[in-house]
Amino acid sequence: MHIEIINQVFDPYARLQDYQSTLSTAARQFGASNVFVGTMRDFNQGDQVQHMTLEHYPGMTEKELERIASEARQQWHILDGLILHRVGMIAPADSIVLVAIWSLHRLDAFEACRYIMEALKSRAPFWKKETLATGERWVDKNTAGFK
């Protein structure tokens, strides 16, 4: 599993293809892969957002993501995984996060990817600050991922 914090614009699909081409012989036995990509919107809580700054806690972010990945490995059969997350100045339509899981079967791929994404949203120390025409504001909490 590869985990990386990225400080510049990235193409999640190019990174996905690159990473998949480097999978080990064992991981190439995958029958299912599930991918989540989160993208910046230009609209939030009724306001136009010009751009966003993503701050994180270097060191703890990686540690917490490692912990989340390890919890997922204990619950599902995972052949390999990729977790990428942007920090710094982000423009609308930029990719923010990629979580990809390769498994033998779809159940593990779907559920492990979902688990990692939801845990990242509630535990990984990242914070978003939005820039609007009228000034800046911190996003105060993430919305719930489960109905």
Partner: protein
Amino acid sequence: MRISMMIQVRFFASLREQIGVADKQLGVSGEMTVAQVWQQATGLSDIPANVLMAVNMNYVDADQPVAEGDEVAFFPPVTGG
């Protein structure tokens, strides 16, 4: 107060802006919990209910004791992803 250990205190995001400082070295005496570190570092009383705490980059509760050289961090709810 006899200072017996030094700890590093860090604040992030909106909390850093409210407190007005990112990092602080704190000399503390004897046994201390994260809640007491908060009080000494900020001059405020209780830790607000939505503030998250970590010691050495692991989430903890406010009653967690701290030790020499620990890094204690306080931050608002996380909003990544």
